[in-house]
């Protein structure tokens, strides 16, 4: 596609090759059809698209959490199926879309965030210590470390999930709507933290989001999904500034604009 000519190709961190996925059921439902996508080392690749188009399904497949019906998934060139759970967890970490069901309700926040460290055998005291420090960085002071998820707001839970994903310094983050539960000031803080991690240590990020502003700010490239297929891929500037697909154009023009909404006529403002 539209790529600069002659540049050396970076390593691929995570790759889906011709992946299809069907959910079993009374009517088998094909959620992904022949999807190929490649996350390059150190880049942020955004995935946007219609609600229900298969983005979360794709993220679970890339994480090796859903079985593959067809196609291959490679993590740094190795078949995802050939990696043990532990190896997978060392290389990549998820932030799931739903902060309500993705945190263990019986554990304290510090324990939840420290889980990846504890799982690889680090001493409890130092793991909990680092977890508390990282909670600070996502804006949850030490007072939150001993609370359980049920005592947190939606956005506070989401921040704990982000801290958990970052704590073990993974090479790849697969984030499904990581900031949609956050107010814009906390969102900015988290996005800056992610950018800092990218600069400091080549973190590769697959970022599923509905927020076009977040895409414009964070992503190097973007893939647009609809009905289980990728309809357009390209650099973030190409896709956002000169979209080729009608659907992409529709998507961009539907963004509710803070100032546009103020000045333009809103269709429902007209008297009936």
């Amino acid at each position: 596609m539209r790529e600069p000519q002659g540049a050396p190709l970076p390593r691929l961190a995570l790759e889906a090759r011709a992946v299809s996925h069907s959910y079993p059921g009374h009517q088998a439902f094909k959620a992904l059809t022949n999807v190929s996508i490649a996350l390059r080392e150190g880049e942020t690749l955004a995935v946007v698209g219609e609600s229900g188009s298969g983005k979360s399904t794709l993220s679970r497949i890339l994480l090796g959490l859903s079985p593959l019906s067809e196609g291959r998934v490679l993590c740094f060139g190795k078949d995802i199926g050939s990696l043990s759970r532990r190896e997978r967890a060392a290389r990549m970490q998820p932030v799931f879309q739903d902060p309500y069901s993705s945190l263990n309700p019986r554990h304290t926040l510090a324990e939840i965030v420290a889980a990846p460290l504890l799982a690889r055998g680090e001493a409890r005291a130092s793991a909990l210590n680092r977890a508390t420090g990282l909670l600070e960085e996502v804006g949850l002071g030490s007072a939150y470390a001993r609370r359980r998820p049920s005592a947190l707001s939606g956005g506070q839970r989401q921040r704990a999930a982000i801290a958990r994903a970052l704590i073990a310094n993974p090479e790849i983050l697969v984030c499904d709507e990581p900031t949609s539960a956050l107010d814009v000031s906390v969102q900015a803080q988290i996005l800056n933290l992610l950018q800092q991690q990218r600069r400091e240590r080549k973190l590769s990020v697959l970022l599923i989001t509905h927020n076009i502003g977040v895409v414009a700010h964070m992503a190097d490239r973007v893939a647009v999904m609809r009905h289980g297929e990728i309809v357009e891929t390209g650099s973030v500037r190409d896709v956002l500034l000169e979209p080729r697909e009608d659907y992409t154009r529709l998507l961009i023009s539907s963004v509710p604009d803070l100032h546009g909404g103020l000045h333009s006529e809103r269709p429902w403002d007209a008297a009936p």
């Binding site: 609370r147 709507e177 539960a181 906390v186 500037r237």
Partner: protein, 331 residues
């Protein structure tokens, strides 16, 4: 008479480390046919406030208010039974976590039909038609097939839309929606918002809409309330507040919105943030709760009680210097 009136609402939550004063003296009113958007820092008490209106607070929380009235009737001391009757047909509630409002063991078709059977009429065929029709109107294709699915078989955005359809099916007079479109792509979000607005206009529904998306506020709100640390710090006509916010927190919040235009290749910009953290709400806060993070803070801010008063075009602003601030900002 406002459809919903709230005066001096306070919510306390009992936690392991003491009592948290999560909502501190909130006054709000919503008229029939009006949309009030609520925005504010994550954890500032928006969901607890919304839950308290219909008696859905978690057991560890307790609330008190000098007035909490729906259609002129105080609803603070309703029995559980009366509250259940009020929810649905009187006040439709859309939870921030869709799974709280959905039963995981029932198909969504059955759950949607039950709403119709309970609140609208006893005809099962009509209930099914209504379910299909509302799912279609919130942008769900093949609605008839979807009826047979269970909540866990739906994507995040489909679940949110089922919740919205469910609330609408009971034909409520007030809808309280807690971040109902966070999982929707912007095209479907636009469709859902315009459905809400058109139903609102047809039936005079009052709408309380909690969101972090200031673009959505600009698109749908008549009035907006900005919350910080359990208080409403600024209220007013949405256009006034967004175009000329008088409270430093509102101002700072708006400046954190990322632009939808990508910066040129190779240029990386740091997003503006609000330095510091929200205060912990155990015990009393002296002075202005925003003082430790406010760019315009002065000595008086951390000692004086900050009154809520009108400022410019804005109805209410809780800042000692709200009136002068305009020059400050534009300097």
């Amino acid at each position: 008479m406002a459809l919903l009136e709230i005066s001096d609402l306070n919510i306390e939550v009992v936690t392991g480390s003491g009592v948290l004063h999560a909502v501190r003296g909130i006054d709000l009113a919503v008229n029939a046919g009006e949309t009030l958007c609520i925005v504010g820092e994550s954890g500032c008490g928006k969901s607890l406030m919304a839950l308290s209106i219909t008696g859905l607070l978690p057991p560890v929380a307790r609330c008190s208010a000098t007035r909490l009235a729906f259609e002129g009737h105080d609803i603070q001391h309703l029995s559980r039974r009366e509250l259940e009757d009020l929810r649905g047909k009187g006040i439709g509630f859309i939870f921030q976590d869709p799974m709280t409002g959905l039963n995981p063991t029932m198909t969504i078709g059955r759950q949607l039909m039950e709403v119709h059977l309970r609140h609208v009429g006893r005809d099962r065929e009509a209930a099914k038609t209504a379910a299909v029709s509302f799912l279609t109107r919130v942008g769900i294709a093949n609605a008839a097939t979807r009826l047979r699915q269970y909540p866990h078989e739906l994507s995040g955005g489909l679940r949110q839309r089922v919740m919205i359809a469910m609330a609408l099916m009971a034909h409520p007079r007030l809808i309280i929606a807690d971040e109902p479109t966070t999982a929707l792509d912007v095209t479907i979000q636009a469709q859902v918002l315009s459905l809400l607005k058109s139903l609102q206009r047809e039936h005079g529904i009052g709408l309380v809409f909690i969101t972090h998306d200031l673009g959505v506020v600009a698109a749908i709100a008549d009035r907006v309330a900005v919350m910080y640390a359990g208080e409403v710090v600024e209220t007013g006509d949405a256009r006034d507040v967004l175009a000329d916010p008088r409270h430093p927190y509102t101002r700072a919040l708006i400046s954190c919105v990322p632009s939808t235009t990508p910066s040129p290749a190779g240029v990386s910009v740091e997003l503006g943030t609000i330095p510091g953290r929200v205060p912990l709400l155990h015990g009393r806060i002296e002075g202005c709760a925003f003082a430790p993070r406010c760019a315009l803070v002065r000595d008086r801010c951390s000692t004086e009680t900050v009154p809520a008063r009108p400022a410019g075009a804005v109805e209410i602003c809780r800042c000692l210097f709200a009136i002068e601030k305009r020059e400050f900002f534009h300097a």
